[in-house]
């Protein structure tokens, strides 16, 4: 079984860490909102072929899923960098 050590340390997020999270959240929120509104109000537009011969609806949906993962990885990487910087200081 893979178990973590139960020793907890103080790893409260720094202000820059929190700001980054909120910024990435807003970025995704804008993309998601635009995508949902396009599906509701611009059905003819999202039917158009955009990239690689796939329409906007499919490309946008796949893009949103991939974007979520990329933002998550970026966030985690930045948080580790912030923590490393804090430790050095």
């Amino acid at each position: 079984m893979i178990h973590a050590s139960s020793n907890s340390n103080d790893d409260s997020p720094s202000p820059s860490h929190t700001r980054l999270g909120h910024g990435l959240f807003l970025l995704y929120l804008v993309c998601y909102t635009a995508f949902v509104l396009a599906n509701a109000f611009a059905v003819d537009w999202i039917e158009r072929t955009l990239v690689l011969g796939v329409n906007v609806a499919v490309a946008g949906g796949l893009g949103l899923i991939v974007l979520a993962f990329l933002l998550a990885v970026i966030y985690d990487w930045c948080c580790r960098s912030f923590r490393a910087g804090d430790s050095r200081r």
Binding site: I2, A40, V58, Y75
Partner: protein, 586 residues
Amino acid sequence: MIYEPSILAIVVFAVFVAITLGLSFYLGAQSRSSHGYFAAGGGIHWFVNGVAFAGDYLSAASFLGICGMIAFYGYDGFLYSIGYLAGWIVALFVIAEPVKRLGRYTFADALDSRFNSRGIKLSAAISTLAVSIFYLIPQMVGAGALVKPLFGFPHWAGVVIVGAVVVFIVVTAGMVSTTYVQFIKGSLLVIFSAFLTVLILNRGLHVNGRYHGQTQTVTVQPDGQRIVNGLPQGRGEGQGDLWPVGHVSRLPGGATETGPLGPIEFLRTIQNSEIVLWSSKTAKNADGSTTTTFVQKPTSGSEILRPGNSPTFRGVRSDQFWDKLNFLSLMLALFCGTASLPHILIRYYTVKDQTAARKSTVVGIGSIGFFYILTLFLGLGAMTSGALDVTNSNMAAPLLARSFGELPFAIVSAIAFTTVLGTVSGLIVAASGAVAHDLTANLFAANLNDHEKVRVGKIAAVAVGVIAIVLGILFEKMNVNFLVGWAFSVAASANLPALVMLLFWKGTTKQGITAAITVGMISSLAWILLSGDTYRDVYGWDPATALVPFSQPGIVTIPLGFVVLILVSLLTRSRAGSPTRSVSEG
């Protein structure tokens, strides 16, 4: 369609159950304290927890419901995938770390972290129970719906088997065994979905010339006898059955087959092909029987890969603003619902710190996102597999697997069934934690020691399991996706405003939180019960007479929760005293 029960599927499922039960016995020793029982002692590795998120979250609705919806209607099912995954962004960037920092067993701990309020604990516990039970019903109904075609047992047997196994898993080792059940299930689901996708792409697409006929009919007589295409349903002499459907009628450039395709090439080819979908119409006959007629509907790929083909999302092509609002409301509930689901939130207490909570969410997003991308290929693969049952979209994924042979069918069927185990066990742990930790101490003013809390939790797990079994049998005819939508709307309306405002508004008071949870829960439930969908599907009434203008409550009841919290907090602020800072500031 009549399905042959698969002995192989039963064997694969039995092996999985045996492994999970053995694991529960083995891990039981680690769950004697309440922190061990309800939160696995905070000792789960972040990677295991991340995959367990997938096992917890990817329920029967995700696997069977979305695949079936894509197979029957195309792109509309994929919209669910996008919405379900987007909700994890709220969880990662807004909720995960503060919830981990502020709580210990349940999300009520986090809400109550600076108030020590009986009202908050009570309302959060009731909301947890309401959401968990709403979420449990479709899982149990899904188990019953699967067990008949796959194993040959009646509906109630499937519900009882799942209920009994899950209660055993939860009672023996609580969150520890639940986590490992979800880890195994999540891994198997993602790996075999990827394997199936490879098989689909390798097979490519081909024009199927097998035209059995333009229509199929199913008549259900008052005595329950089914007449299929003019013959009593059966496999014997003088009997008939529905034929499998789902074929490509035209490929680009007049080709008859494509050979193996890459993922993007597969989507592009579908978009430029013509595929035969089926529409259905049900009519009541003079003798009391009902006849459902299924008619072929050749549909262009570009039409399939745009929104609005399914009854759920037809509103996006309507000129009526209310119809579009229904779609927007559902997408809002999916976005806000994930980070408000109690069985997801308690998983943050199974890891050691906030860093592990964040890392496990990243792993969860990776595995869940990968799975949701695969649903598009699984659904479209099923749509063109020639193996679909025109009467049952939930069977699309297992029948797709059967088109590749009995072994993939057995494995996918067993995984589909165990999918229910993972989600149900998480829900029962969340509900039992709410009862033992929040409800008993506050409603009955009982001061329980550690050992007693675990005992109450185990009793609550058995009680919730029995309730879930009974409701799973009673709600047999209800649509699984419809019920999951209820759970997301209630969770988002009741819990999200309280969580977000606690974290980001210094003026939040305990009365504000209690009022927001109560109003959000009651208003969303009331809206659902007064909606057109419920009128039609539950009461059997004319949906046009429904009291609310559209069926999905989120776009009204989520903002309502925020407004109530702000108003009540402003009104009670002077009495409560102003907090000095919001909890998101650490």
